[in-house]
């Protein structure tokens, strides 16, 4: 094929991703975005200008070699594309699906300023899916070093750290308190956004190739303390995430029908409540749902609600029900990925912006019957430049709902810190750790991911796991001291 000129590349329009029909998908849990075909992927790859100073790579928290993998992809050399990808990113099939690309790689792509960014995320997913199916880039283990590392938590940060350390030849044990590995990828993010087969596929492949010992049902802080792990290992990495839900301090939060998004999503995703009674765990959703918040977690909760409502109608009749987002700021401040907001809208989710709940109302059976809210308006920008929402006096009204799901952010689960003397924490409950190396204030203990940053992103957690693995490796080889 003759090489295109930059001007020609820039004329190609960004390629849409095929999607499951938005009416059909309200009633099922299958993946929404269907992925590029090989032809579309190559055509999209043609848009990349192969910048000498690639801004896209700078926008990616782990610095994926984006122009390199895209070039290999458009030349049809998938094996090489996978290799380039895997230099920085062990889980492209996951990141391609869930990264907030518009504020990371794609947001920084030079083309974003002139029109539409290269669809880096979709290309990454294509490469990741190719590797899942063909396994052209096997994980290889270096000769045994005789060193032992315990990794606590099997979310993106722990998994990345475990994989890298096992490749370096250390004996890695991965401890997870739930019954399966994956962290938020398994219990939080729903099937229709990230199929569990993708996550299971990546994890079991890594575990088999590298001989990582996965110990589920092990709650560190209870089954073993951190000091006990330190006694048996040369190093310990904490990737325990930020799983502790917060509840609003308003009257009525203990009524029946009020849940944290974590409870709701765990029931639905980890325990597969959408397949009740074939799976034992139920979830009760009622007819009208209000999800409070507008982050990724809120979008996942409201889109799961929509699907459960449709399933319910299908099985036992009745109206289609209502799935609401209740958010105290305006549309411009919505923190969720754009794509999720768009999908939620297509699926019929109702957005209530500038609306702040002040009370949950119940009946004599202590079940939720309504959500009392105030309308808000945006005031003057504060120091951070963000316009703060202010209540409009006399604007109280009651939304009729029977389920209230709180998606208000999470903080680190404190169990792992039980008896962990010397491990410093901030007042927000996060572990204190060096950003570059992941070292905590406790000798031979590293930490990374949400447990350090608070709720963040999959790729930033993976980056932290990777940086910590590099420093642990240097430490274990005697190339770096612990001062």
């Amino acid at each position: 094929m003759t090489e295109l000129k930059a001007a020609e590349r820039m004329k190609i329009k960004r390629h849409d991703m095929p999607h499951q029909d938005h009416v059909l998908r309200r009633g099922n849990y299958s993946e929404v975005a269907l992925g590029y075909s090989e032809e579309t992927a190559k055509a999209e790859a043609e848009r990349c200008l192969q910048c000498k100073d690639p801004k896209c790579t700078q926008g990616c928290p782990v610095g994926v070699m984006i122009p390199q993998f895209i070039k290999a992809l458009r030349e049809g050399d998938m094996v090489k594309a996978v290799e380039w990808m895997k230099v920085k990113n062990n889980l492209p099939a996951v990141c391609g699906r869930v990264c907030p690309q518009e504020v990371q790689c794609e947001g920084s792509c030079i083309l974003a300023k002139k029109g539409e960014a290269v669809a880096i995320g979709r290309l990454e997913r294509f490469v990741g899916d190719y590797e899942l199916a063909h396994r052209t880039c096997p994980l290889v283990k270096a000769p045994d070093t005789g060193k032992k590392v315990a990794v606590v938590g099997s979310g993106p940060s722990g998994l990345t750290c475990a994989v890298d350390l096992a490749r370096d030849g250390h004996k890695v044990t991965l401890y997870e308190s739930l019954h399966g590995p994956g962290g938020v990828l398994i219990y939080g993010i729903p099937e229709f956004r990230l199929p569990k087969a993708v996550v299971h596929g990546e994890i079991s492949y890594a575990v088999e190739c590298l001989g990582i010992d996965v110990k589920t049902d092990h709650v560190i802080g209870r089954s073993f303390t951190l000091d006990e792990l330190l006694a048996e290992n040369d190093a310990v990495f904490l990737g325990t995430g930020a799983g502790l839900p917060s509840f609003m301090r308003i009257p009525g939060i203990n009524l029946n029908g009020v849940m944290s998004a974590n409870e709701f999503l765990t029931r639905v995703n980890l325990m597969k409540a959408y397949q009740f009674p074939n799976y034992d765990t139920p979830v009760r959703i009622g007819k009208k749902v209000a999800v409070i918040g507008a982050g990724n977690v809120a979008m996942d909760a409201v889109r799961c609600s929509k699907r459960l409502l449709s399933l319910q109608t299908e099985q036992s009749g009745g109206g289609p029900g209502e799935a609401n987002i209740v958010y105290r700021r305006s549309r411009d401040e919505v923190p969720a990925r754009q794509e999720e907001v768009l999908h939620a809208e297509e699926e019929g989710v109702i957005f209530n912006f500038l609306t702040n709940p002040i009370e949950i109302i119940g009946n004599e059976k202590r079940a939720v019957t309504g959500l009392k809210c105030m309308k808000m308006q945006l005031g003057e920008p504060d120091k951070s430049g963000r316009r703060q929402p202010e209540p409009i006096e006399g604007s109280e009204f009651v939304m009729e709902v029977d389920t209230v799901i709180m998606a208000l952010g999470t903080s680190p689960n404190p169990i792992v810190f039980v008896d962990a003397v010397g491990l410093e924490r901030t007042k927000h409950g996060t572990a204190v750790a060096d950003t570059a190396t992941g070292r905590t204030k406790k000798k031979r203990v590293w930490a990374g991911g949400d447990v350090v940053t608070g709720a963040a992103t999959v790729i930033s957690a993976m980056g932290a796991g990777k940086r910590a693995a590099a420093d642990i490796n240097a430490f274990l080889k005697g190339e770096a001291d612990w001062q």
Binding site: S177, N254, N262, R284, R366
Partner: protein, 287 residues
């Protein structure tokens, strides 16, 4: 997978099992619990650690067959395995020498009260125990409770064994008796029993610890589904408990939250019964 090493039938609806789970046994203490998931399709249910053996690496669980999960568990046998077994979870009981204490076990609550009574006895307390059940068939471990108690009262609702009364009656008599000062009461059993025990001790201002049995999912503080309303705000039973000062618990809130999933629990049971009937029909058809 965690193997069932022993199985005993304690009463019509109560069964005991020893499960091989060294990672739990090494640290387990009275008052803590485990989360059990039977198989791939199973829910995560909390069960109290009734006993443990660190050398053998086993945990004893005792459960009452109430619904789908516990009935299915009861059908498993020695040699079978269960999929998940996480723990020990929650805080252990605070054992100290309080003086004279009363330990109350109702129904299947007799199982978790036993290791607490034993530990309190070993710590030097004078232990009075009261155990109760609806009828004789539902009682168990009378001998074991007697062995660790200075005095044991047995009650049944129908009078088929021991005294015909609720556990709160003898409790009130002990509290009334001015010669013997009761310094602490523990009560484990159905929520409604624990509610009335705390109402009984309240006027006498005797500290009363209860072990709450809310619905749980993860058991590690991640979902908030187990939250209970106390006088001073909501707490998570799985990490802040399971034992609480009974005088601070909003019992009506607890009782209503416990029954929230009643319809679904019934549906799960019907579905399970239907599946079992089908399986039986198929295996009989094949004979």
């Amino acid at each position: 997978m965690y193997k069932i090493l022993k199985k005993e039938v304690l009463s019509d609806v109560v069964k005991l099992m020893d499960i091989e789970a060294p990672h739990v046994a090494r640290k387990a203490r009275a008052g803590q619990f485990v989360i059990v998931r039977i198989d791939e399709f199973g829910e995560r249910i909390p069960l109290t650690i009734a006993d443990f053996n660190r050398e053998k690496g086993t945990i004893t669980i005792i459960f009452q067959e109430l619904g789908k999960s516990t009935i299915q568990l009861g059908r498993l046998d020695v040699g079978d395995s269960i999929a998940s077994f996480a723990g020990p979870l929650g805080h252990p009981t605070e054992i100290a020498d309080y003086g004279t204490v009363i330990c109350i076990g109702g129904g299947v609550g007799i199982a978790p009260i036993f290791p607490i009574a034993r530990a309190l006895k070993e710590a030097g307390n004078t232990v009075i125990s009261i155990i109760g059940a609806r009828s004789r068939e539902l009682l168990f471990w009378e001998d074991r409770m007697r062995a660790v108690s200075d005095e044991l009262i047995v009650c049944t609702d129908d009078g088929s064994h021991g005294r015909k009364s609720l556990v709160t009656e003898p409790l009130k008599e002990f509290l009334e008796n001015k010669d013997k000062k009761i310094s602490h009461v523990w009560a484990i059993g159905p929520a409604i029993m624990m509610k009335f025990v705390t109402l009984t001790t309240k006027p006498y201002d005797v500290a009363t610890t209860v072990s709450l049995n809310t619905i749980m999912i993860d058991g590690t503080g991640m979902c908030g589904g187990c939250r209970v309303l106390l006088e001073d705000g909501a707490q998570f039973v799985c990490v802040d408990g399971p034992e609480f000062n009974g005088h601070k618990v909003d019992w009506d809130n607890l009782l209503s939250r416990l029954s929230f999933y009643k319809d679904e629990e019934k549906k799960a049971m019907e579905y399970y019964a239907h599946k079992c009937r089908l399986e039986n029909a198929i295996s009989e058809g094949g004979k």
